[in-house]
Amino acid sequence: MEVRVAFSGPKSLSGKEFTYCPGCHHGIIHRLVAEVIDELGIQEKTIMVAPVGCSVFAYEFFDVDGTVAPHGRALAVATGMKRALPDRVVFTYQGDGDLAAIGTAETVHAANRGEKLTTIFVNNAVYGMTGGQMAPTTLLGQKTTTTPYGRRAENDGYPIHMSEILSTMRGVAYLERVTVSTPQDIRNAKKAIKKAFLAQIKNIGFGLVEVLSTCPTNWGMTPVEAQQWLLENMTKEFPPKLFIDRVGD
């Protein structure tokens, strides 16, 4: 009998079992990034910079060279690598706390310098690893362990729109906000991720894809409810949108 492979994972994933919670989108997003790396044939020249947060373990899940940056500093670490090795592909994978709170300055300045880097920005509106505290992207009224009465603008300010901010930066070559909640969305997200890598590979500028993501555990929902909540609430605050595409087809 002929044996054929009916299904396999991307080469650029290490095969190590994900440690993410059921219903969390990190798994989907990891897979999309790995597929893009495979399809672009860049596994042997890619270096990843993992953040501090739930995806701190990402450096173990990807089968590429990698390191873990101090919280918020992934784009500074990646800048140092890329400046040392301009012909390699360097990407960061960061959550909302990492990229949009503690690492805001590094994010803004790397984008503004037009660093030839790619960033996957996973926005799930909550601090996951530390146990569900308010994130800079937490929605108004959203309850977290540090906004037990819901986020109030007068105390906590407003959800920060990083993609909108970065869309004003001339160094940015590709910038899109996507979701991965439906098969159609997932296909679109993958295209965006590929373009964000091409922005770097073609030496055009900085590429970033913001992926709206669920956190059923810290949102206190089932995976299905979380999916629904994301589509009904998060996309209102953070509408999926292509902001910048200087990569072309």
């Binding site: 042997e44 270096i47 060279d65 101090p70």
Partner: protein, 350 residues
């Protein structure tokens, strides 16, 4: 070889380039901004990369990223900036990455002032950031020595896969004196880091460089490895200079700028018939305690002078271990003691 008049900051920068450093990241701060300015002009000439960063926090992490690739990289700053870098330095030490820092120390705490000081000794030699780690710390007292130690710092950093620090002060940074520059290091002779550096996993299994280990037993093993390395450094890398210690009855101890001022003090006291020697630690970590202990068995007392409230004197006391009195004189806030006032303070002890 021809002697050049150079400013300390520029001498350090040129020495780094001659050591094979082609990557510099930095943020301006007095009194060391000439290092960044010099690098911005000079690195492009030798095919290197200079980047002015958005902050010292970004700087140290760019150094981390560049060091991950195994290339020689450095940054420079002054005290408040060095404080901002501490988190990143801890990561660098934990990931065992070679790189060189320069702290041209100024008066503190807080915003303090911009005058020469030695008040960052604890931060430099005891770790500085979180966790059990050490930097290799070298303290030049002349510009020629600043050049030699900058080159040495790169070599030691590579040898031990550990960050190294040049601990200077505003006087070393700003003053000029004649120096001889060593020849340019041939980049092909630099140490090979291909066994661990992140370069993209072409033709080999992917690898990770990190200070992270969620398993406490695993992390303890990593710490044991660091500590074994530090013990080796303590055995093999103690450096110091002795001046007129041969028949000394009294021993002055000071490092960096203070160390050279103490030589003038010893000269003048000799003219007055007093046998005074100078012990000048060059490596502040590892502190040269073995030789200091030996010397302390031959003199009546030790007199430590610092541009601080008394930080290195704690290591002096540990080395002397109560055998003889250890006295201290210091000026703070960026005030540099003159030879005359040190002599007055010394004579009160006789």
């Amino acid at each position: 070889m021809k002697k050049l008049m150079m400013k300390g900051n520029e001498a350090i920068a040129e020495a780094a380039i001659r050591a094979g450093c082609r990557l510099y990241f930095g943020y301006p701060i007095t009194p060391q901004s000439e290092i960044a300015e010099y690098m911005s002009r000079r690195l492009p000439e030798v095919g290197g990369t200079f980047l002015q960063t958005e902050s010292e926090v970004a700087t140290v992490n760019m150094v981390y990223g560049a060091a991950c690739t195994g290339k020689r990289v450095m940054t420079s700053t002054s005290s408040p900036g060095f404080s901002l870098m501490q988190e990143g330095i801890s990561y660098i030490a934990g990931a065992e990455l070679p790189c060189v820092f320069v702290n041209v120390v100024r008066g503190g705490p807080g915003l303090g002032d911009i005058q020469p000081a030695q008040s960052d000794y604890f931060q430099a030699t005891k770790g500085g950031g979180h966790g059990d780690y050490r930097l290799l710390v070298l303290a030049p007292s002349t510009l020629q020595e600043a050049i030699e130690l900058t080159m040495l710092a790169f070599d030691l950093a590579d040898k031990y896969r550990n960050p190294a620090l040049i601990l200077a002060d505003g006087m070393i940074g700003q003053m000029m004196e004649p120096v001889e520059l060593p020849p340019m290091r041939d980049l092909s002779t630099l140490p090979d880091h291909s066994s661990w550096a992140l370069t993209g996993a072409e033709g080999r299994a992917p690898r990770k460089v990190t200070s992270f280990n969620i398993d406490p037993y695993g992390l303890e093993e990593m710490n044991k490895r660091y500590q074994e390395k530090y013990r080796r450094v303590e055995r093999e890398e103690q450096r110091w200079e002795e001046y007129k210690t041969e028949n000394a009855e009294y021993l002055l101890v000071g490092y960096g700028t203070m160390g050279r001022i103490l030589k003038s003090v010893a000269d003048r006291l000799e003219e007055e018939g007093l046998a005074v020697g100078v012990f000048r630690p060059i490596s502040l970590w590892p502190f040269p305690d073995r030789r200091l202990k030996e010397l302390s068995e031959k003199v009546r007392f030790v007199f430590t002078v610092e541009m601080s409230s008394g930080q290195m004197v704690e290591d002096v006391r540990l080395a002397v271990d109560g055998r003889i009195p250890v006295h201290f004189y210091g000026r703070m806030g960026g005030v540099v003691p003159t030879p005359e006032e040190v002599i007055r303070a010394f004579k009160k002890l006789l």
